[in-house]
Amino acid sequence: MLMTRLIPILFLKNGYLVRSEKFNIHQNIGNPLAQVERYNSWDVDELIYIDITREGGYKYQRKDLGGIDRNHTNHINGIIQVVAKKCFMPLTFGGGIRSIDDAHIRFKLGADKITINSQALRQPNFISLLAREFGSQAIVVSIDAKLCPDGSYSVFSDWGRTNINISPQDWALQAQELGAGEILINSIDRDGTAKGYDLELVQSVVSVTDIPVIACGGVGDYSDFNEVLNKTGASAAAAGNIFNFRELAYPLAKKHLKNHGLNVR
């Protein structure tokens, strides 16, 4: 039996690990590499890193960010390289991937999968190009959605700034047809709020697609994981903050899921 995946997502900005709230507040919570050992010892199912740097380079002057190759001191690529040497688990990297070359370098440094978002919305065919080059299994299309005043959901690009005026359902289906291997659906409204997943949003995307869907956004407690997995048909549950802020959150979440009858490692 395939096991349900529980996936920590790490958001990076200017080289720091950040806590994100509603896509516009980003609190610096430290060194992204310091987390690696923890996740390794917790035997996590998978790790997703998303770089949300908008402008400015990486601040690697700090001594505590040691170990990064000098050739990659100003980019997420340095982080990929270090993480891939230590973590023998599936690694997904996203953020700022605009071209086949951007994807190539990430795979070359050790990424197993990439997530794409804004560039796929600007150029949907980008999904097909990547799928042809690297295989569908390596391409995760990430969708950021928000509930609009009229009660419908809409997809946003550029880290939640631009309304694309397409429903997450339509976009997910299109992404699947273009060759996406997985969908990562994130709720902008729930991001960092600890109010639980937007079940309706997740369920709507699961219902129209045949590929695995990873739910993200809003986890406040371990029971939120059960809820999204049991009620929406999502293949995996992802979260950021809870794993950064709570001691032993990952093993405890796994234990909670196991106690509630879910098949987890």
Partner: protein, 207 residues
């Protein structure tokens, strides 16, 4: 014996993770980009992601098909990972019928999940049951978890070379072994301790 592991690089795979895993295990390992150099190694690894036709095309263009067949015939151990394992078959059905290396009698077809509602690709951790214990599976629990990402697999789980299977609404071929030929449908290099053990054991297989 002096072990030299050669990871065959046909330009389409993410071989970094495989290389990193062998380096972590302290092995003498190199990537092989020139087919003639295959003979310099004691152990060969054929990783692979992407589609079957693309994988075969790249093997042939680079002249690896003949070199691999020659070395394997001489008894050199080879370990195929994911698509690499599939390329050992006679032919694959992905996109268009394509001949494989023909080292293993069998063909590769799309997993049939029937009415189960299970999604493809088959992505995630699944429990593999090993039917047989050998050098490569020594110390591996009879039932252990590995990371899979694929939609196609060997079509007949009852063949004698199938030594590991997993359940995904149907029996999926997870591990094969035939003489000096080994293959994992999952990614040992991404399956933490259990996977690293298989890679380590592979280097102990004598040629």
């Amino acid at each position: 014996m002096d072990i030299r592991v050669g990871i065959i690089d046909i330009g389409i795979s993410n071989i970094t993770s495989v290389l990193n895993a062998f380096l972590y295990l302290g092995c003498n390992v190199k990537t092989v980009r020139i087919s003639k150099e295959v003979s310099n190694f004691t152990h060969l690894v054929l990783p692979g992601v992407g589609s079957f036709p693309n994988g075969m095309e790249n093997l042939i263009i680079n002249g690896f098909d003949e070199e691999i067949s020659n070395e394997v015939e001489k008894g050199k151990p080879i370990f195929g990972l994911c698509l690499g394992m599939q390329l050992f078959a006679e032919f694959g059905e992905e996109f268009k019928p394509t001949n494989g290396l023909g080292l293993i009698e069998g063909h590769i077809s799309r997993i049939d999940t029937g009415e189960s509602g299970l999604r493809l690709p088959h992505i995630g951790w699944n429990q593999v049951t090993f039917k047989k214990n050998s050098v490569i599976t020594a110390g591996v629990p009879e039932s252990s978890n590995y990371y899979f990402v694929h939609s196609y697999s060997y079509s007949n789980p009852n063949e004698p070379y199938v030594v590991g299977i997993c359940d995904y609404s149907t029996e999926v071929v997870a591990f094969i072994e035939q003489d000096n030929i080994f293959g994992a449908q999952f990614h040992p290099e991404k399956s933490q301790a259990n996977g690293l053990l298989l890679l380590k054991n592979f280097t102990k297989v004598s040629g």
